[in-house]
């Protein structure tokens, strides 16, 4: 299944394969990952590169947002060989303290996000280390990190010990620094840069649209430079830290969380890690499933994890707080679509927070851009979960399903031929993803219906704009058509009546025509229901950067 699997570099200092066979118990998460990297987005050369960039950009954005910094992110991709690239991603974020860097980038499931649940872009804590590992197994080279944090600049190399899931960190230097930020640099093999719709450029463009407060630059191979400038100067509201709600957890996440838990007992892990999970709930669960709650969470099997998730769905839970959901905001989306896509018409719809699976709050935002600088002669779908573009696995996604279900004819939009972009963002602490790849939204009925409603609402606005444009165009055409006849008419009329002069009649006719069609056009403008966002949309950005 995975063509890369047998190719462990000879110079790698990790344990040999025989070692891992010898001691099955030490089979680390890192080892597991190495064998199953396709699950995490490392399948296909273009996709692998996008995944790598995604992991770092996402981390940068999350770090900046958490500290109220307006992000400046620069991505450099330098071709150094056949399907081999050096990648440098730098940000102006807070940087990382020395004691965390190793774990964050060299230990699986040890990210800052894993034990703290909040609405953030990345949620699995596996990505950055996954990249470190990918660099390692494809080029054998360590990761180079420059972290400017709290007045110190640290330079180090990091590798993952695939056997023990512990980072190997070599400090190269440390010095005073008057700035903050993080730069990661690594070489990757078995990846490919191209400008396809799955590629890095497209990914960054989409990211920039959903993150109007970020500036994103790309230096692509061949020294091609792209810049997506900031559309707004306000950092988004800081996400609220909440424990995960039991109803929002997947079998995979539950197992992964359990395995990284330090609690001695499974029951303790559940009560401690989830909101609304009381000992009372443990006893309720005990009544309906046969799982040993006293054993270590590290031993939670896939089967038991599955049983637990199913049983959890059967119990009654207090819903998580609604304010954990932070949408991008109507005004913000409108500005960034204008800035980056520059369509002729934009209509953005921000829907109220809704509930799925009996208790998980989520919000859907849809923006439709039409015409203008969008010159792709076909409807395009930009899918997002918590501002993160979903680049792959579109076919099974609730967003794609919803779009397919809509009768576009009713909105005068032809998805086969019209230059339209449908932007859909779902915000929630628990995005109902399909699988661990997290590239598609599961087709839960409430979610898919809400997405569909939101898109239809946005499409109605576009339909009105299109209709108005056609009308105004018609007006202009009518005026021109009439004006071309008046010279002839005036001359004949003057001759026929034997009164008045041609010029006089022509002047008066012109005035009559212009008055008539001017009046109508002004009337059209006044009847405009609005759509150019008078900024009445709720203010989302709380604090400005200092």
């Amino acid at each position: 299944m995975d063509p890369n699997q047998p190719s462990i570099p000879a110079n790698s200092d990790i344990g040999t394969q025989r070692d891992t066979h010898k001691d099955f118990k030490e089979h680390s998460v890192a080892e597991f990952f190495k064998k199953n990297k396709h699950m995490l987005g490392f399948s296909g050369k273009t996709r692998s590169l996008t995944t790598i960039i995604h992991e770092y950009v996402t981390n940068s954005l999350d770090a900046c947002d958490e500290h109220g910094i307006l992000p400046n992110i620069k991505v450099e991709i330098i071709e150094i060989g056949e399907e081999k690239y050096r990648i440098v991603v730098s940000d102006n974020g807070p940087g990382m303290p020395k004691n965390i860097i190793g774990k964050a980038l060299g230990k699986m499931l040890a990210g800052t996000k894993f034990h703290r649940y909040m609405q953030q872009r990345g949620q699995q804590g596996i990505g950055a280390t996954g990249c470190t590992m990918y660099a390692q197994i494809t080029t054998g080279q360590p990761f180079h990190v420059l972290s400017a944090h709290n007045g110190k600049m640290l330079s180090c190399d990091i590798k993952v010990n695939l056997k023990t899931n512990e980072p190997d960190m070599v400090i190269i230097g440390e010095q005073e620094a008057s700035y903050h930020g993080l730069t990661v640099e690594a070489e990757f093999g078995d990846v490919k840069f191209d400008k396809s719709s799955y590629g890095v450029l497209e990914y960054l463009k989409k990211t920039a649209i959903a993150n109007p407060h970020a500036q994103i630059e790309l230096v692509a191979p061949g020294n091609e430079y792209y810049k997506f400038s900031r559309s707004i100067e306000i950092a988004p509201k800081k996400p609220k830290e909440v424990k995960p709600h039991p109803l929002g957890i997947s079998v995979y996440d539950l197992q992964a969380m359990a395995h990284s838990s330090k609690e001695p007992k499974l029951s303790g892990f559940l009560v401690d890690s989830f909101s609304r999970f009381s000992p009372q709930k443990i006893s309720e669960l005990k009544e309906i499933i046969d799982v040993d709650f006293s054993k270590s969470p590290k031993e939670l099997s896939w089967e038991d994890s599955e049983k637990l998730v199913k049983a959890i769905q059967k119990l009654k839970w207090i819903a998580p707080p609604l304010d954990s959901v932070i949408p991008i905001g109507k005004d913000q989306i409108e500005k960034s679509m204008k800035n980056i896509l520059d369509p002729e018409f934009i209509n953005v719809v921000e829907r109220d927070i809704k509930i799925y699976s009996g208790g998980i709050p989520f919000a859907v935002e849809v923006g439709i851009g039409f015409g203008g600088k969008i010159n792709e002669q076909k409807g395009e779908i930009y899918r997002y979960a918590n501002r993160t573009p979903l680049m792959f696995d579109a076919s099974g996604c609730a967003i794609a399903n919803a779009i397919k279900e809509i009768e576009w004819k009713r909105y005068n939009i032809d998805m086969e031929t019209d230059p339209a972009v449908i932007f859909v963002n779902i915000s929630s602490v628990h995005i109902p993803y399909v699988g661990a790849g997290k590239q598609a939204i599961s087709d839960i009925e409430e979610v898919q219906q809400e997405i569909k409603n939101a898109i239809m609402e946005a499409a109605r606005g576009i339909k009105i704009s299109l209709g108005r444009k056609r009308k105004v165009g018609d007006m202009e055409k009518k005026k021109t058509a009439l004006l071309r006849y008046i010279s002839r008419l005036s001359e004949d009329l003057a001759n026929l009546a034997e009164t008045g002069s041609k010029d006089d009649i022509q002047k008066k006719l012109t005035k009559i025509i212009e008055t008539k069609y001017m009046t109508n056009m002004v009337g059209e403008e006044e009847a405009k229901p609005e759509s150019s966002g008078a900024g009445e949309g709720e203010e989302n950005g709380g604090e400005k950067e200092e």
Partner: protein, 314 residues
């Protein structure tokens, strides 16, 4: 068109002056509208089926429904402009005392609207033909009054003398001295044409030219004191007006056609007018005209008679 200008109004026929006044009045009304800051309008009776009546007078005529066209209505703007162009052109014909056909009119108006415009005033003759009708209806005149000639087709012989003022000359036409071809009835028998003398008891209209020639050779019109006319099938406008003028002089009109649908249609058009020319029904129809010839019932009734059988063998 030749430079043949006559001194204004001097020697102009009163019919011409009337037509000129109507055209000029049309233009004046529109200029007044434009001066008042509103779109020029053109009101014309509807000529569609819904506005055609057949009433007790015995002929087809137009009802009271009218349509008002506005230049500012885009769907009507081009037609509006064309109508005024046609009206202006017709005025010019009358003033210069020149005649042309509707095809001639079309060619004189088929030019570009401007160097920068990819559009001609007229693209096809069908466009200008209907406008001539519009003006006829709207101004209560015939195209002949506007110096438009139509096809000549009918032929006449009989004891009638006409004075034809045409091309600046006066010619007397004697219906008894037209030889084997007869007098070809012109398209216009109203303007500049007068009956000087008439000595006949009735008018016989025969559908077929062949029959007319037969009867002419026999000097039927002399023996019967009749005016012998053939429209050569369906009647032209001029022929219909000629027959109508004779009817107005009190002569009975007998129409001899084949006993078939086409023959009856020819008879009925003469008698009641047609849908197409319903707007001229009053001047063109001859409700008192009578059919003469064999009918369907005659065949049943007379087949046994020797005379009839001999006739049928002819």
């Amino acid at each position: 068109m030749a430079e043949k200008k006559k001194s204004e109004s001097a020697g102009r026929r009163s019919e011409d002056q009337q037509a000129l006044d109507r055209l000029k009045g049309l233009g004046k009304g529109m200029v007044t509208e434009v001066d008042g800051g509103s779109t020029p309008t053109f009101e014309t009776p509807l000529r569609g089926k819904s506005n055609i009546l057949f009433d007790t007078d015995g002929y087809l005529k137009l009802g009271d429904k009218t349509e008002t066209r506005k230049f500012m209505n885009l769907g009507q703007a081009r037609t509006f402009m064309q109508t005024i162009s046609v009206a202006n052109k017709l005025k010019q014909f009358i003033r210069e005392d020149l005649h042309t056909s509707i095809r001639g009119l079309y060619y004189q108006l088929k030019f570009s609207l401007g160097d920068d415009l990819d559009e001609s005033l007229f693209e096809e003759q069908s466009e200008s033909n209907v406008l001539v009708e519009d003006l006829e209806v709207a101004l209560g005149a015939k195209r002949e009054d506007f110096h438009l000639t139509t096809d000549r087709k009918g032929v006449l012989a009989g004891n009638i003398k006409l004075v034809d003022k045409f091309g600046g000359e006066e010619v007397t036409i004697d219906g008894t001295k037209q030889g084997r071809s007869g007098w070809m009835i012109p398209s216009d028998v109203d303007n500049g044409m007068e009956i000087e003398s008439l000595n006949a008891n009735y008018v016989l209209v025969v559908e077929k030219d062949a029959l007319w020639q037969r009867l002419n050779e026999d000097r039927f019109w002399q023996k019967e004191k009749a005016i012998l006319i053939t429209p050569k099938g369906q009647s032209s406008r001029g022929t219909r007006r000629m027959i109508r003028k004779l009817a107005d002089r009190g002569l009975p009109i007998y129409v001899f056609t084949d006993c078939d649908a086409w023959g009856w249609y020819i008879y009925w058009t003469l008698k009641t007018g047609s849908m197409n020319l319903a707007y001229l029904g009053k001047e063109f129809s001859i409700p008192n005209s009578r059919f003469i010839g064999v009918t369907m019932s005659d065949i049943e009734r007379y087949t046994t008679t020797k005379c009839f059988r001999e006739l049928c063998l002819v």
